[in-house]
């Protein structure tokens, strides 16, 4: 007891009292946090209950692991899990390196106006909504009237039913991610690249290094910390890969590959009102996500200690 009292700076309570107006500033955000973040977290317990609106989150009858067992035993389980992981990993591996490469090239453009132009064009899709991006895909990929299939037939091919084929879902999902989201990351990398001292490049040129060598030995090490941070963020979001886009791109014909955990939760939970069952699936998703995040943090921390990044 007395130790605690001694180690504390004197008058914490008085200090807190003096700062009550500052607490008042943070209060609205805290109220929001409790209502819309912590209350749903508390509500996760319906995954172990048979939720009904009358008894609420904590009063509904307890059923244990029943909903999880039903999900793990369902024919949906393996396919949905596989679809989710495949889509997430492929999406990350393909879409993540693209803005890094683009940034290195844009950064090496000498002409200031051209650099601004390219940068501006590549950035602009960031402002286009997912609904419109997917809408563009439906219009441009339409088997009868779409631009892409006109090109395909022009070169003597058969029109492809892009939005209705399971095998086209992943390529389209990933390439539209690249199209829509590269620009945002590009800007972040360019900011990191602009912090690199130009004198390094001048010195390297005097030493006879060509552009590849300068990129490889100056630019790449310069943005590596930023790459690691953005990669961590991407891994943290792995299981949530823009499922809104998956939902928008989903048609009855491509469900075989487009049904991921979150779209399944949406259909089972909100469309068919199986609240507890889908809350259990959602919880399963969150737990995998958390495990990935923690694992990755540990790995990165170790790597950092080793390399001193």
């Amino acid at each position: 007891m007395s130790q605690v009292a001694i180690s504390r700076p004197p008058g914490v309570l008085r200090r807190m009292g003096r700062l009550w107006q500052v607490y008042l500033l943070v209060l609205p955000a805290l109220v929001y946090l409790v209502m819309f973040k912590f209350w749903p977290m508390y509500g996760v317990q319906i995954a172990f209950r048979n939720y009904n609106p009358v008894d609420g989150f904590s009063g509904s009858p307890f059923v244990g692991w029943q909903h999880f067992e039903r999900f793990f035993g369902s024919p949906q389980f393996e396919r949905v899990l596989e679809n989710t992981l495949t889509l997430a990993v492929v999406n990350l591996l393909v879409a993540f390196p693209v803005p890094v490469m683009l940034a290195l090239m844009v950064n090496n453009l000498r002409d200031g106006r051209l650099r601004k132009f390219v940068n501006g064009v590549l950035y602009s899709p960031t402002f286009i909504s997912t609904v419109v991006v997917v809408g563009m895909m439906y219009v441009l990929l339409s088997p009868r009237s779409g631009l892409v299939n006109h090109l395909v037939t022009l070169f003597g091919g058969e029109p492809v039913l892009f939005m209705g084929s399971p095998e086209w879902f992943r390529p389209l999902f990933v390439s539209s991610t690249v199209w829509q989201e590269s620009g945002f990351q590009l800007v972040i990398y360019l900011a990191a690249l602009s912090a690199i001292d130009p004198a390094l490049h001048d010195a390297a040129r005097v030493d006879g290094a060509n552009t590849w060598q300068r990129i490889r030995h100056i630019d790449v090490p310069g943005i590596l910390p930023t790459v690691v941070v953005l990669f961590m963020l991407a891994v943290g979001n792995l299981m949530n890969v823009s499922f809104e886009k998956a939902l928008l791109m989903q048609t009855p014909l491509n469900r075989e590959t487009s049904q991921v955990i979150q779209t399944y939760v949406y259909q089972a939970g909100l469309q068919q009102a199986q609240f507890s069952y889908s809350a259990a699936i959602g919880l399963f998703n969150s737990v995998i996500n958390l495990a990935l995040l923690v694992t990755f943090h540990v790995v990165v921390r170790r790597a950092r200690r080793g390399q001193g990044i």
């Binding site: 929001y32 972040i188 590849w212």
Partner: protein
């Protein structure tokens, strides 16, 4: 001709001429690769958008048969006429304006005030409070409990379902906190307090005016987010008259609801005719809904760069 292109390309891509040889082989290869990749990337973004604009003004038959590539074929404004005669589109725009402005105002207000409070190093408990926010980055209740909470609060089918559930974006809160730490020196506050300014007065009269670049960035980010959001509207709103533009767009573009042509569709001769114009309406919808954002984008980019969103990531 060829050498002019090469010289221009070399100047543009930024490989410095070395002596009379025109750069090493490596540099020349780089120039070609970079010009190819960046050219392809720019084309991949510009051409689809350009084509959609062109197609939206063209005779639907010409578009559907693949005769339109670079220039409108048989200029027509039919698509726009039908689209702008559709009451759902106008209602969607009105709803989106309302939701976007309310949600942005609330988010920015909450983030600024909380971000400032948490940037105060003399505030007992600030680490605990920050940790509470950080938890939500690692774990959340998921879609279903979130829906049930909004339902229990009686917010379904109200404006507030579009405004409250996403009010605080934790990343932006962290950006704000970092900004305030560097932008508001402790000495300024002590001086103001010696003059008898209360904490709240200091926040409103000194801190906020100093935070203008931050406010601009936050407003911009949230405007774009809120304007483009559709999923919350999908789950929280069932009343069609409350649908924001993105949900209307989704029903027309993705679900292909042919009634997109609205009340005017009754005068169309046949189903085939309706479908023909339906495609035209889709091109027009994409243009109308995207153009305002693309026009704003260069300015937005300037602000975002200046506000140092990227810089805050390092903090």
């Amino acid at each position: 001709m060829g050498s002019t292109v090469q010289v221009t390309a070399r100047r543009v891509i930024g490989v410095r001429r070395r002596g009379r040889t025109g750069g090493s082989l490596g540099d020349r290869v780089y120039t070609v690769v970079a010009a190819g990749v960046l050219g392809a990337a720019v084309l991949a973004i510009v051409y689809p958008l350009y084509f959609i604009v062109v197609a939206s003004f063209s005779e639907p038959d010409a578009v559907n048969d693949g005769r339109v590539w670079a220039w409108p074929e048989g200029f027509t404004l039919d698509g726009y006429e039908r689209l702008l005669g559709d009451a759902r589109v106008w209602r969607g725009i009105g709803n989106s304006l309302l939701y976007t402005s309310l949600a942005t105002a609330l988010s920015v207000a909450l983030i600024l005030s909380a971000g400032y409070a948490l940037s105060r190093k003399d505030l007992p408990g600030r680490n605990l409070i920050t940790a509470l926010f950080l938890i939500t980055l690692f774990f959340d209740g998921g879609m279903v409990p979130r829906y049930l909470v909004v339902k229990d609060l009686g917010l379904l089918n109200t404006v507030w379902a579009m405004v409250l559930p996403n009010a605080v974006a934790v990343w932006n809160l962290l950006i704000a906190r970092t900004y305030f730490r560097s932008a508001i020196p402790g000495e300024v506050r002590e001086a103001a307090q010696l003059d008898g300014a209360s904490e709240l007065r200091f926040f409103f009269q000194v801190v906020l005016p100093l935070a203008k670049p931050l406010v601009a960035v936050l407003v911009l980010i949230h405007l774009v987010w809120n304007w483009n959001a559709f999923f919350d509207a999908l789950i929280f709103l069932t009343d069609e008259s409350k649908f924001p533009l993105q949900l209307v767009l989704r029903n027309i573009l993705v679900q292909s609801e042919l009634s997109a042509t609205g009340n005017l569709s009754s005068d169309l001769a046949s189903y085939a005719e309706q479908q023909r114009v339906g495609e035209l309406v889709k091109y027009g919808m994409i243009v109308v809904s995207t153009l305002p954002l693309l026009i704003v984008s260069p300015f937005a980019q300037k602000y975002l760069n200046r506000g140092g969103v990227a810089g805050a990531l390092k903090g």
